[in-house]
Symmetry: C2
Subunit: 333 residues, 2 copies
Amino acid sequence: MHGTVPVTLKLLATELGLNVSTVSRVLNDPAGVESKWAAPQTTERIFSLARERGYSRNPHAASLRTARSDTVGVIVPRLQDFVLATIYEGIDEAAAENGLFAVVANSLDDSTKQRAKAEMLLGRRIDGLIFGDAHLREPYLDELATRGVPLVLVSRTSGDHVSVTCDDYAGGRLMAEHFLATGRRSFALIAGSEATSTSSDRTTGFIDVLDDAGIVVPEEWVIHNGFDAAAGQEAASRILASGRMPEAVFAVNDFAAIGALGVFREAGLSVPADVAVGGFNDTPLAAGVNLTTVRSPMHEMGRQGLHALQTLIGGGSPESLRLTPEMVVRLSG
Amino acid sequence: MHGTVPVTLKLLATELGLNVSTVSRVLNDPAGVESKWAAPQTTERIFSLARERGYSRNPHAASLRTARSDTVGVIVPRLQDFVLATIYEGIDEAAAENGLFAVVANSLDDSTKQRAKAEMLLGRRIDGLIFGDAHLREPYLDELATRGVPLVLVSRTSGDHVSVTCDDYAGGRLMAEHFLATGRRSFALIAGSEATSTSSDRTTGFIDVLDDAGIVVPEEWVIHNGFDAAAGQEAASRILASGRMPEAVFAVNDFAAIGALGVFREAGLSVPADVAVGGFNDTPLAAGVNLTTVRSPMHEMGRQGLHALQTLIGGGSPESLRLTPEMVVRLSG
DNA sequence: ACGTATGCCGCAAACGTTTGTGTATTGCGT
DNA sequence: ACGCAATACACAAACGTTTGCGGCATACGT
């Protein structure tokens, strides 16, 4: 197991009495066995020997030669976040289907780390980057663009970089319309992390609808403090501490919603009788706790993001995409 | 931005009037500026030019030469699973600290996909593999081991491969002891996926304690059907459908527990008055919904797993590790 | 019968590193 | 003054591919 000679093109070639170039061309021909690079008989011999010896091309050598790695990097705030994990799965799936490979890194939504990870990936010679952690103003993205690095954004938009997102504004409107239709008249917003398009689009969509209905959301009830369960808990506590209660609260993320749910219930409130709660994304857990929410096509965002990046790498100029969300009403609101 | 010449060792070397070998040695010397491969003055010139030109070594060329990629592959059932995502984060963190890079792939807990992904990663010339999806009997792992592929298991054990896990048996005992101490006498088990060590160790730990107390868990109340919220919901429904109710149910995974929680509450049962519910892992959401659970050191498992793999790659023979779990009691039980 | 096309394949140069070996220069001890 | 050991570097081969170019047959058209 230690003195094994690696099976290379050269090995196959000499064993077949051919030149490595011929073997290489045949093995790489997308036409496969129908390759016109060699006589049918020769092609057959090549493939069968390759199979027999278990040949596997050395991607480092190939990448060195071609200056492509067939690998794309993706940067997410955090893989622990179900939403981003799902998006990454979509990316990875589409990548695999297209002969690419996706690698991932966490930025913790921090600009310095984002830059560090991106540069690290570029150092590994990836062919392009997908950002799932873009902030509204992000000079680094512009820098990368002018450096000529192919990049696309998923989940969040920023500037005029190519992006694949959920139509978050529409999603916010959906939730507001639902709440109004079910008779609620006062609202609080657990609005996620500031300076992200997901946060601002969802909240302005929500607020715009209320505006039209002549309802204003008090400023202290618009709480920006992150997307996770802990953020939802803290926001809910702040709402409770405000003395009075809204008839409904819209958390722009399911996990924040679930965190809020727990705090409200613990405070003896009944949901949705005392306060309705709505989330965003429709993660499986939302179904598990009967949370009313807006479904966003996370997996599909990942897939489309990869496709966009691929056409970008190929020299094309893909359009940004806004996938449409869907209201899903459950018991919590 | 298109006609840029890539900055290589050769470029630096000719520009400095040196040979690439010298530049390479200096730049790679762990001693950094203190390198003894060149005169102090020369070393300084090399580093400053490298910095000025923004030199970044081409890992493909290096890997081609050294036959190492400084990359490890990790295979998980699913990145969407918070537990595995956290373990991967631990792996990635430790990898980065040691100059390595971790790439990940989903197997969906399916042996065929597991093999396919592993072979794909090996084709990319990774230096070693970490499996987070091992089943109890896994011939493929043995095959890899005899092939000489450095591998370690995390989260789940299998055979006598090196593994870093939580002491699941102890964890199961903790939960049983807690339930007994709080007066429950009849139990159901939402036991996760069959043929995984996490499932079997946690349940046997649980059952052993009950045995000693002279309590037996009815067979139809030991339900094997996966680790996620949907599995928990279905299991809870089956329990409800059995006609009578246990005083407590232990789900070997928080998400399954949360799913069960939702079903019980929806059925009008009050938790923990009518039925206590315990989970496993102590994910943030457990705190969010006040779930009693057993904390497992997920992040640390990842870190230790990477270290084990690293010593394996370095030719050492690391010991398997069983990290100790911790009971965390909340309102649900 | 002769030019040309086509099928089949080989040659060789890169891609950017790492690393074993070699060599000129300097400094030192004696 | 001599040998000897460091010091400070250079040379060159190798890692396994990809790909432009070229060459030799055979077949084909006229």
